[in-house]
Every structure is written in structure tokens, then in C-alpha cells.
Symmetry: C2
Subunit: 119 residues, 2 copies
DNA sequence: TCGTTGCTCAACCATTAGGTTGAATAATAA
DNA sequence: TTATTATTCAACCTAATGGTTGAGCAACGA
């Protein structure tokens, strides 16, 4: 159940979540974590940047509530939390009716999306 | 017709759209425009900031493809374009399956989700 | 104990973002 | 023409962002 939160807090969460998703590296991290937990090192490996930079991105994701970091030995396994994604999707969903009703031709896009299920 | 776009361009569009939505003023503008077109002055009126600042926000929204500005007399009526919202929603939608299956374990949420399920 | 691994913290740098004010522009009204 | 209205442009400021490198720290393996 989603309990009541102040509008302000919810707005701040949306700031954080949309802001976190506004970076391609962070979206790639989210994508990666969607297929399973990973350590910072594992997450950093594919990127042409220092792991410190990736660690910073993880902190942004963590502040947005999208990532949870625990401890196991020297490692900090990261786990994706989807609730903020739901919140963001919910905000966008408020406009779904608008675009579905007044822009029927956009059904084309939705259909295309189904075909190319990867971003 | 919408032709094929490179992944890179799509990534940049997502950068722009999520970035545009990461600001509460801009989300409020989107919300306002969802209920109908408006001029810059009308859009600026509710905010405690200069209309130049609002004009800047509109430019960000415009660069993200979310707003289209035309001319009518001295005014620049703004119109919401929803296609980028669809793109953002589509990206989030790629994870819907993930979060639906994870809510599955709590099966309370699954029932809620199914009510609004849509491709 | 000592060295290595995995990561964070701190300082720094360049760029961008969000705001301000003041001037410029373009269309309308007088 | 001149004035007014609606908006943008330009310059500026401050703070935040995204990256770097180097040091520090905690946990493990030898």
C-alpha cells in the first residue's frame, strides 16, 4: 500500500528519480541491475571511466531510492529498487489517457515499442 | 512516417526528456499544458520567478521535444507534445515486467497493477 | 602481520543549470 | 510615428554535475 506522503516530498522524489534517469550511464546501470545484483566493480567494468565515477553515479541512484547497497566482505553488492520507477511511471501515466484519447495515431509508436523491446 | 533512429539519438532523447522532467517547475508546466495550450505569460503567472526564467524552462522543454511554440500576434502559444512522454514511459515500461513479477510475491499489488495493465 | 582487494572520501576542475536583471525585438494599439 | 505588450537575448552569478586523481579504510588471504 502506498501511504500518504506530502506533495512536496513526492515532488522531490520525482526530481531525484527523473534526474537520476537523465544520465545514460545511470540508465545503463539500472538496465544492468534489472538482470541481477552486482558489485560496484562489476558495474564499473563496462564503462570507460574510473570506478570512482561509477561509484558517484551509484550514490545518485541510491539517493533517488533506485539502488540499495549492502555489504558482503569487501564488496558492496547493489540491488535495484523499483518503487521509484513505479512512481515515475505513475506520473507519466497521468498523461496516458491524454495521449491515448487525443492522439490515436500514436498507437503506431506503442506498437513499434512492442517489436523493439529494448532501449 | 517515423523512420529508424540510432540508439545514440534515442539515448540523447531520453537524456533530454528525463532531464526536462527532473524539475518541479517544468513538470508543473507540462501538467498545465496537458489541460490546454497557453502563452508564456500565462504559464509564468503562477510561479514566483521571472517570466524570463519560465521562458528558459520552456526552451528546455522545447529542446526535449515536449513543447512546441508557435506565433500568434506578439504571443508564443505553447503546446504540449506527448511523443517524448511516450518514449520515457516506454523506457520505464521495459521494467514493468520486472516489477510486476517482483510484486507477484506480495500478490496484493499484483491485483492493483492488473487493473491498469496496458501495453 | 602485511599486502591486496574493493570501495569510499576528499579535493579539484570544467561545464551546465537555474536564477537574476537589463536591453532588444516584434506585433499591435493609439 | 510612438507607445505598449509579449517575449527573447545577453550577461552575469551561484550552485550543482560529472569527471579526474590520490589518499584512506575495512575485510580478506598469505
Amino acid at each position: 500500500m502506498v501511504e500518504q506522503r506530502s506533495l512536496e516530498v513526492r515532488e522531490q522524489q520525482l526530481d531525484a528519480v527523473f534526474g537520476a534517469l537523465a544520465d545514460p550511464t545511470r540508465r545503463a546501470i539500472v538496465r544492468r541491475l534489472a538482470s541481477g545484483d552486482a558489485t560496484v566493480g562489476e558495474l564499473a567494468e563496462p564503462f570507460a571511466m574510473s570506478f570512482q565515477a561509477v561509484s558517484k553515479h551509484l550514490r545518485v541512484l541510491e539517493l533517488a531510492g533506485l539502488v540499495e547497497r549492502s555489504r558482503r566482505a569487501q564488496q558492496r553488492p547493489c540491488k535495484l529498487r523499483i518503487e521509484p520507477l513505479v512512481a515515475a511511471g505513475g506520473w507519466l501515466g497521468d498523461y496516458r489517457e491524454l495521449w491515448e484519447s487525443s492522439f490515436d495515431r500514436l498507437d503506431v509508436h506503442l506498437t513499434k515499442k512492442k517489436g523493439s523491446a529494448h532501449a
